[in-house]
């Protein structure tokens, strides 16, 4: 074989596998749509605004799950974001040099714990604590499971993602910015604020990344949220999320319509999380020159160091 045809087959050969990745993503979108046509055609747009989820009568509406997913994720963000930013600031600006690596590692460890282990801990440790708190607060259904437990556990799971990206962003803020602030008589916190201001787009991206993570979380949530399709602003009532209902009812789905309804929920989850993730990637990339996923960054950073 000649040199150039060798090169060509190399290019095509590896290219085929690259194309496979492309096909997979397209395939996911396609398959999700294909497997939810029954539900799409039967319910149309009403699917997203109906509260009723009744497998027996074949009446399906996804609103409770959309509510539960958004509510739990936003609550989780409210709790997780200040903590994650605080950690990022502490590690990159305030902590003694010796502590940096260990603290960073411990934070990454939070991300390494599997969802099911969080769920297990959630059921047997967090929920009883939450129940005690609810009783003390005089809450009506003091079950322990419910939105509060779910939001708390989601918050813990989201913290390492937002924190490690925010830390990268802060690391990339040029020192001269902080120096300019100090030279003008700024206190330490004021100089930190300047750094945050410089990286604010990326930090918003980091927060969105956490949001995307929370939206798609399945096991830990389904083990502590109570799995009841009701829409309520109460933190104490059991509720339901998109991912949780799919996990719980997929294998129970007796008829095709039921299955298609569940898969249609999966389709929406797919669209929302992909959208949020892409937006976050865009925001992060515009501050940093490269888009790096939080899972890969530690590996590449260490290996490249």
């Amino acid at each position: 074989m000649t040199r150039s045809s060798d090169d060509r087959s190399f290019r095509i050969g590896t290219g085929a596998f690259a194309a496979l990745v492309l096909l997979i993503v397209a395939g996911i979108a396609f398959e999700l749509t294909r497997q939810s046509t029954l539900s799409i055609t039967k319910f149309g747009l009403k699917f997203w605004t109906t509260k009723v989820w009744d497998p027996v009568s074949g009446d399906f509406g996804a609103l409770p799950f959309i509510w539960g997913t958004l509510y739990s994720s936003i609550l989780a963000l409210l709790v997780a974001t200040p903590i994650a930013l605080g950690i990022a600031i502490f590690i990159s600006e305030l902590s003694p040099r010796m502590l940096r690596q260990p603290l960073a590692y411990l934070t990454e460890l939070l991300a390494a714990i599997p969802s099911i282990v969080y769920g297990l801990w959630g059921i047997f440790v967090l929920v009883p604590i939450v129940r005690k708190v609810e009783i003390a607060m005089g809450a009506k259904p003091a079950l322990g499971v419910g939105m509060l437990a779910a939001a708390l556990i989601l918050a813990v799971m989201v913290i390492p993602f937002t924190s490690s990206v925010a830390r990268e962003i802060l690391k990339n803020v040029p020192t001269t910015q902080r120096e300019a602030a100090y030279a003008l008589g700024a206190t330490r916190w004021e100089a930190i604020k300047v750094a945050i201001g410089f990286g604010r787009t990326g930090i918003i991206g980091a927060v969105m990344l956490g949001f995307g993570r929370a939206l798609g979380e399945t096991m830990a949530v389904t083990m502590v949220i109570g799995n009841s399709p009701q829409i309520s602003a109460s933190l104490f009532k059991p509720q339901y999320t998109m991912a949780a209902v799919i996990a719980n009812e997929f294998t129970e789905a007796a008829d095709e319509l039921y299955l298609h309804a569940l898969i249609e929920i999966g389709l929406l989850l797919f669209i929302i999380t992909v959208g949020v993730n892409l937006l976050s990637r865009l925001l992060i990339w515009s501050t940093k020159r490269r888009a790096v996923t939080t899972v890969i960054a530690p590996v590449v950073a260490e290996v490249a160091a």
Binding site: T176, Q177, E179, A180, Y182, A183, L184, G185, T187
Partner: protein, 273 residues
């Protein structure tokens, strides 16, 4: 960067000079050493910097000039493992004294850096920064001070119609003048400039030099430069630094026309550096 390797006898023979000046000394330095970790980078610096004059620090790169001026406003405090030993007095008060407030010190000793570093905010917000953190909120007062600072930095006429445009849209020379305006806004007594024009083209450079000449009526200026012609043009006194020591410190004319030390003469005539 020229790395000078001296024989031990040459090092020992290097003069340690302090020129005692008595009229209006603003900054008085005595026997100041500086260490990065265990490495000693400044050796027994002693000199008096006069008020409302321009003092230039010249010498080859890496010989401690920047470290020195950063010690005066204690910017080196931010760097871990860096410490200074000795006395630096501003108006008779020890900069490293226990009752010196670093934040206040840095307001009094303004600094402009080699590469301009405006914040990614508007021109107005950049100049207002030091004032705002100092607690000034009154819009009219802010407007006044900002206009005055930008005028003093010879930038007002170029930006007065676009104060709320982004500072990053300005040219390099304009950004540097903005940084000067920003530093002036908090009303410092001393202005330190670390190679302020090294990243600029000749026209922008001459604008900065004119500016320095005008500013010295109101401010004590210390300027670090590796451009000897610039030092000769702009300064009243010049200190020649080498390997972390002050080799000679005198009136600028004396340094350039009639230097006392051979090393100074070699440097200013371009025999090295």
């Amino acid at each position: 960067m020229i790395t000078l390797v001296l024989e031990p006898e040459q090092k020992a023979a290097m003069p340690q000079v302090a020129v005692p000046m008595n009229d209006d000394t603003k900054i008085s330095v005595r026997d100041f050493d500086f260490f990065y970790g265990t490495a000693k980078v400044l050796h027994g610096i002693s000199l008096d910097i006069p008020a409302r004059k321009v003092t230039a620090l010249i010498g080859p790169s890496g010989c401690g000039k920047s470290t020195f001026i950063r010690s005066i406003n204690r910017m080196n405090d931010i760097i871990t493992d860096a410490r200074g030993k000795g006395t630096i007095l501003i108006d008779g008060k020890n900069v490293y004294g226990g009752d010196t407030d670093v934040v206040e010190l840095r307001r009094r000793v303004g600094m402009v850096f080699q590469k301009s570093n405006p914040f990614p905010k508007s021109i107005y917000d950049n100049v207002a920064y030091g004032l705002r953190i100092g607690g000034l909120r009154n819009k009219r007062q802010l407007d006044d001070i900002i206009e005055r600072s930008l005028t003093r930095a010879a930038l007002w006429h170029e930006v007065k119609d676009r104060l709320h445009a982004s500072a990053l849209a300005l040219s390099g020379g304009q950004q540097q003048r903005l940084c000067i305006a920003r530093a002036l806004a908090v009303d410092p007594e001393i202005l330190q400039m670390d190679e302020p024009a090294s990243a600029l083209d000749p026209i922008a450079t001459s604008k900065i030099e004119e500016l320095i000449y005008e500013l010295k009526d109101n401010y004590t200026i210390v300027i670090v430069t590796h451009n000897m012609q610039q030092a000769a043009r702009v300064s009243d006194r010049t200190a020649f630094f080498m390997l972390g020591r002050v080799v000679e410190y005198a009136e600028t004319n004396a340094i350039f026309m009639n230097p006392r030390e051979k090393m100074t003469e070699d440097y200013v005539t371009g025999r090295f550096g």
